[in-house]
């Protein structure tokens, strides 16, 4: 399968099954759809009025070279491979999302956790439960060395002492078991202070700072419980924290909704404030929510992604580059195909733990009793749930089979699929449309970057 498209003046081919990305001229772009079906003489006859014959022959030779190198018109050979991997693998857990606080000091309108309470009551995780969670992780991690623990909520700083105590416990245990804990924290910033910053910089491999962008956008969606906006309270603290981490190993992370479909302005606002690691993501909501994105909004949102991508290219060229999480693409050292096919690992490698120690496939399933998989005392008591997730991949989803983006989203978010269709083997169509657009933009940015780098290296010669 070859996906071809034009963006920002570039003609791009994505050979889906090899993952190869080719930037081509107009002639090749025109030849690719029928190159395999037609003889060269037929192709020359078709194009000779517009291109010199010699050029067409050269282009054909270039295409042949790619085909011979396994970089064009490749077949999907992974279905059996992934099945073998899934069957051979002993289940291991390598990442936990610890719901350290089911409570929040903000009342964000789009919160999937219902202001931190997750369809349940307010609660803080005790140190004892947290310890058992880390013990469970170590015990179930097999030979995996790197273990990830995200302190999540609600708002985890409402239970800060337990976070610190659990980090200390983890550091002690990792030595005993030859593991390496990578802790992360997701916070709304309200309670962020110098002491928290110092600890986070010492112990957390990543920190996610929630901010939506422009003040009016942020304050509308992320108010305090009394209705006041939170932007002015958190922004200076986030700027200070980002600088104190040398603008690395963090994200400012926002959500865009139907109310700010011009979200490129929010991304650029964050960049103009000095942030270099930015993630602004589409809200997930059903149609009855006024903020939810609808199918009819897609053209506008696509245009906005294009605008953002073009502006990022412009900034890259002028030395003002920043990272946008959803446009990140590692073409040289990206994930292996096994990773791309196994997805986010929810329900298998990645689990969420509630303040009471119950285990769920991920943070978004928390509170849905049907998906309670066990608890930190007894471990997994519902292996059937784990098996359902284990067997969920791009080949178990009919809609993914012919999608060019399947090796980038791995079939999408299981929780979103469940929310919209009641089955993790489905896909959430709006999210698919957006993912395809983002992959196109991300590749275009890589093409532009390669072009600039090439020009610079030519100039140096």
């Amino acid at each position: 399968m070859v996906h071809q498209y034009k963006n920002n003046g570039y003609h791009i081919l994505l050979d889906v099954n090899s993952g190869s990305v080719h930037v081509v001229d107009e002639l090749v772009y025109e030849m690719v759809p029928y190159y395999k079906e037609k003889e060269l003489s037929e192709i020359i006859a078709l194009l000779k009025d517009r291109y010199p014959k010699e050029e067409i022959r050269e282009a054909a030779a270039d295409l042949e070279e790619l085909i011979n190198a396994g970089k064009l018109y490749t077949e999907d050979i992974y279905e059996n491979y992934i099945q073998e991997i899934v069957e051979a693998k002993k289940p291991v857990v390598k990442a936990l999302c610890l719901h350290i606080a089911h409570d929040c000091n903000l009342a964000c309108r789009y919160c999937f956790a219902e202001e931190g309470e997750y369809h349940g009551r307010r609660a803080l995780m005790s140190y004892e439960v947290g310890k058992k969670a880390l013990d469970f992780l170590i015990a179930n991690s097999g030979s995996r060395k790197n273990l990830e623990v995200d302190f999540f909520g609600g708002e985890p700083l409402l239970n800060w002492q337990v976070v610190k105590d659990l980090v200390a416990y983890g550091r002690e245990q990792e030595k005993l078991h030859q593991k390496n804990f990578r802790f992360t924290l997701t916070t709304n910033g309200v309670l962020l202070n110098d002491e928290v910053q110092e600890f986070v910089n010492r112990e957390m491999s990543n920190v996610v700072l929630s901010i939506d962008g422009r003040k009016e956008v942020h304050d509308y969606m992320r108010p305090f419980r009394n209705g006041a906006g939170s932007y002015d309270r958190i922004l200076p603290k986030f700027q200070k924290l980002a600088d104190s981490r040398n603008q690395e190993r963090y994200y400012v992370r926002g959500t865009f909704t139907r109310h700010n479909k011009d979200f490129s302005k929010d991304v650029l606002h964050l960049a103009d404030l000095g942030f270099q690691q930015i993630s602004v993501e589409p809200v997930v909501g059903t149609e009855e929510e006024t903020y939810a994105l609808r199918a009819e909004d897609l053209p506008e949102v696509f245009a906005e992604y294009d605008r953002l991508a073009a502006e990022m290219v412009r900034r890259y060229r002028t030395g003002k580059a920043f990272t946008f999480f959803h446009f990140m693409l590692d073409l040289t050292g990206g994930p292996c195909v096994a990773k791309r096919l196994s997805g986010c690992g929810s329900g298998t490698e990645y689990l969420a733990v509630t303040p009471w120690g119950d285990l769920y496939p991920c943070h978004q399933f928390v509170g849905d009793e049907k998906y309670r998989m066990g608890n930190v005392d007894e471990g997994i008591t519902r292996p059937d749930i784990r098996d359902t997730f284990k067997n969920c991949n791009v080949y178990s989803k009919e809609k993914c089979r012919d999608c060019f983006a399947k090796f980038y989203c791995s079939g999408g978010c299981a929780a979103n699929a469940h929310k919209f269709h009641g089955s993790i083997h489905e896909t959430y169509d709006i999210s698919c449309e957006l993912e395809r657009k983002r992959v196109e933009c991300a590749i275009m940015i890589k093409a532009a970057e390669a072009e600039k780098d090439e020009v610079e290296s030519d100039e140096e010669k």
Partner: protein
């Protein structure tokens, strides 16, 4: 090649040989939490 510039050197087929060690970051631990963004992760062994 005059007409084509390929941006990556490795192919997905090649990653079948050594892939699947599972040491890389879980995507939801990076920033997303509401989407699945595996393609933008990096391989732990290429760091």
């Amino acid at each position: 090649m005059k007409h084509i510039k390929t941006l990556n050197t490795q192919t997905l087929q090649n990653t079948m040989k050594k892939g699947g060690c599972g040491e890389c970051q879980t995507s939801c631990q990076s920033a997303c939490k509401t989407s699945c963004t595996v393609g933008n992760q990096s391989c732990e062994n290429n760091r």
